[in-house]
Symmetry: C2
Subunit: 546 residues, 2 copies
């Protein structure tokens, strides 16, 4: 053991002694359990450090490894500089669209009081990450961004009754890895919602326009937005004879039609959910319908359906919506699809789901056993590469769940909302697959300062300083006397477009050379020599900055 280690050991031994005394005193004073626990934890940590230093573990006295398990927790990953370059491009493209439509952003804590989340996700509540009980409040990591948003509105609602907000942040789901493959436990969600009381379908139409703008600007290829209306769907279920209490379960079964053939869905309806087979067959006739606006005309001829109050209300909304979508010139992107049901219970109006050619899942063959589909989220973002690329809908009653009710059982505050969640993790993976990692430029450096000859460190620093002062992104090699080829290699590796090359003779003459590193033209090989005083102007003009 070295002297430094001996000394460290001595310090640790002293710390352990005093920490032990502190714990004993707290216990004697009958301090709060959480306080004692915290101090005991600190004590154990000190003991562990000592054990590592001594090459033993605290209990057995046997030799132990001092190395750490070098990994991120299961279901999480690091994003390196290349990943982040793509991710920032995606976020900036999306937020630009949101801001163009007047959106602002808010941020909420990464964990919420446990009771805020409980009762919101049904069966999937078991996927919520809890914080350890270290005394004080019980907290859980957020499961999505919608519930914290509804909680925020319920708390601050009076100021935020007309509110377009976006929120891009990580959410957490403690999924059983055996259940699904490739599902992340920490992943990004990107939500845009419009909260407030407005005239019908106006915000709904703008959300769909925003979705189309964002997906177009992201350049992820062709996409289609499937739309439907919960009230039309409920009307269909009612006229097909679905008992009232089975409407949501049957709706969940319909929601699987994008992944399963009709026969399997029907089987689930009949065998698992006890629906009469003829009733399921009637539903089957409806949910195979899809098209554009003309589908409204087809449905209008269905007298039974049109007599249903829910269906009629939904139809009225859809007519209006198509009017507005026509003005916004996005109707051609829409597919009015009666098989779209969306899993979440809280939707009350239009629902939608965007699918790209790259994200459309392969249909399972007939007869394959039905796979569990989580119903917890408007978009299952955690599964990368499968399913829809964005989804959402109108939910008019969620905020009321948080606002409490008055004596008559009516929520104190009810703020209708319509929102969309973009599947950013899927968008990343589509964009990452489009380019090779080594072709992604993660830095933004524009100029690399290179010395020919004797290092010229301070001279390189001086040039870099002038460039920084002028707002030009510049680097140089952190060596006193770097070799010329190493400097060019560093410049190439970081894909820096321009080099400023300095040499003693040129500096004495008040000159520098500028070389376009992307140019393979041999006659341009050495760059052009210009007056040092013109360097900034020349570079700005080449970089097209003013």
């Amino acid at each position: 053991m070295s002297d430094t280690q001996q000394q460290k050991k001595l310090e640790l031994t002293q710390s352990i002694e005093s920490q032990g005394q502190k714990v004993r005193q707290l216990k004697a004073e009958k301090a709060e359990k959480s306080v004692i626990d915290a101090e005991v934890a600190a004590l154990l940590d000190l003991k562990k450090q000592l054990a590592v230093l001594e090459g033993t573990d605290g209990k057995s006295g046997k030799a132990t490894k001092t190395s750490f398990t070098l990994k991120t927790p299961k279901g999480t990953k690091d994003y390196n500089d290349k990943d982040m370059a793509i991710r920032e491009k995606v976020f900036s493209t999306i937020t630009q669209v949101f801001k163009k439509h007047g959106a602002v952003t808010i941020d909420t804590p990464v964990f919420e009081l446990k009771e805020i989340l409980s009762g919101k996700y049904g069966e999937d509540s078991k996927l919520i990450y809890d914080l350890a009980d270290q005394g004080g409040e019980e907290c859980s990591l957020r499961y999505d961004l919608t519930v914290p948003f509804a909680r925020f509105l319920a708390m601050n609602g009076k100021e935020y009754q007309n509110f377009k907000r976006y929120h891009i942040a990580k959410v957490y789901r403690r999924d059983q890895p055996a259940m699904t493959k490739g599902r992340m436990r920490e992943f990004y969600q990107c939500d845009f919602d419009i909260a407030g009381v407005y005239d019908p379908m106006i915000p709904d139409a703008e959300i769909l326009r925003i979705l189309c703008e964002a997906l177009t600007n992201l350049d992820i290829g062709k996409f289609t937005v499937k739309i439907n209306h919960r009230k039309i769907l409920d009307g269909i279920f009612e006229v097909c004879g679905v008992p009232e209490q089975s409407i949501r379960p049957i709706s969940s079964a319909v929601d699987k039609l994008d992944k399963l053939p009709w026969a399997d869905v029907k089987k689930e309806m009949v065998e698992e959910k006890g629906l009469a087979p003829e009733c399921a067959d009637r539903i089957g006739e409806y949910v195979k319908l899809k098209g554009s606006r003309e589908l409204l005309d087809t449905l209008k001829k269905d007298e039974t359906l049109m007599k249903n109050a829910n269906a009629a209300a939904g139809m009225k909304d859809m007519e209006l919506l198509f009017d507005y979508l026509d003005v916004f010139e996005v109707t051609e992107k829409m597919s009015f699809d009666l098989s779209l049901a969306r899993g979440l219970d809280y939707y009350t109006g239009i629902i939608y789901e965007a699918v790209t050619e790259k994200s459309a899942p392969p249909k399972l063959a007939e007869g394959v056993v039905s796979k569990k589909k989580t119903n917890s989220d408007e978009l299952d973002e955690s599964t990368v590469g499968v399913g829809s690329i964005a989804a959402g809908g109108r939910y008019d009653n969620l905020v009321g769940m948080f606002s409490g009710v008055n004596k008559k059982g009516v929520p104190n505050l009810q703020i209708p909302c319509v929102g969309v969640s973009l599947g950013v993790e899927r968008i990343f993976s589509i964009l990452m697959s489009k380019q090779k990692s080594e072709e992604i430029k993660s830095n933004e450096t524009q100029v690399f300062v290179i010395a020919v000859g004797d290092g010229l460190l301070k001279e390189r620093m001086q040039v870099a300083k002038e460039l920084w002062d002028a707002g030009i992104k510049a680097s140089y090699m952190f060596k006193n006397k770097p070799k010329l080829d190493k400097q060019f290699a560093a410049c190439d590796k970081d894909m820096i477009p321009f080099a400023v090359i300095i040499g003693k003779d040129e500096l004495d003459k008040g000159q520098v050379r500028i070389k376009d590193m992307r140019s393979k033209d041999e006659t341009q090989g050495g760059g052009v020599t210009i007056q040092r005083a013109d360097m900034i102007q020349e570079l700005k003009s080449r970089l097209s900055i003013s």
Copy 2:
């Protein structure tokens, strides 16, 4: 109970039944405890939902409130749109400076394996938030961004031996609220670090240049960067006769000199840390020295100190550093201050701390009892409004702690680092205090489309759509027939600079009006009427976008 509630109750009862059966089956199959626990949790949640629906709690059968505790967890807060506007401005100012210097960003998970964090924060380990043990790995929320960065480097070090990275993200400290006031448990850190083997003091000088650029661009008023060198400080302690094992504790005492008078610090050295009083007095003579580069000359005349190997090495570094700072023209911002010690043990070279006039803490009066100062972090960011605004230093051995050691006890991978952490929470509070909340424009909307007369909803939509297509940020009121004054009020409330005003007559003539909402000139009151075909061009020119 309404029909809907009855129906919901029925569904819940059925779900509870089937979930109970699932649990019983898992227990019969002797499934893993964590799996059973998860299903039991889901079952309890369903029962709770039923209890709430029935207006009783599950156990006692008594009536219970259905309202939620509407708050964020202790020590956390929501950031509303105004907060976020300031926060995004701060982040964008800072990242622009980082990117100008070639930095890239990475992201790491919000939680790490518990063992990665343990043994890194000494006594303050008790402030670490643990996740609940729900089976699987033990995890904790990150306490800072430095340890995850060192873990990342140890894992990916071979690719990242020359690396400038920044990371802006939230960190978590479960501080005892009784201990300190106004301390947040969730707060932002903003770190910039340069990792890699370079020639001496070159990256160190660039970090200080970056710090000065960032603080200047943030426009938070005058600031000073206190600098010192750990080796000079260690040399001083050695020549003053501090026993080797007391060097770090005595250094921690010196670190309190920015908050406490010398008499209190000396008392701590002598009474708490057992230092001889004459030894403390000798230290007292050194740590009162501060100045600029000329302080190096003063120290050089101190023959005893110059014979100390540590001090001599530190002096050599400082000479070189000042040379480079001169080139970068930031020397005038520096205060070479021998009382600067920094709390963290892991610094090995230069250390620094930026103080603004607004953030300088009031010195406590002589004789006031010493307050605990956490030693866990290069910058105690969680205390808003007190202390330094940025801090950092060189830490050459931290990555080696994660890389494991070879048979000779030498780390497998050692990557020297130098970094700075900007106190963004303090910067927010300084900037927020500079302007009134109602004066902060949180949206970026440039044009509001207003109708005179009969609502003209589709016409407003059409104009907005044309503006969006042209990249102009535009909104309109989500009402069929909004009143004119309401529209102007909405435009004013959101501080939208321009209005496009449409009326039936003007539209028929192919005209619109454009009004500069900021202009109070009455002759301009109604705006100017222009051809609709010129609308985009006119607005772009007024907004100075091309």
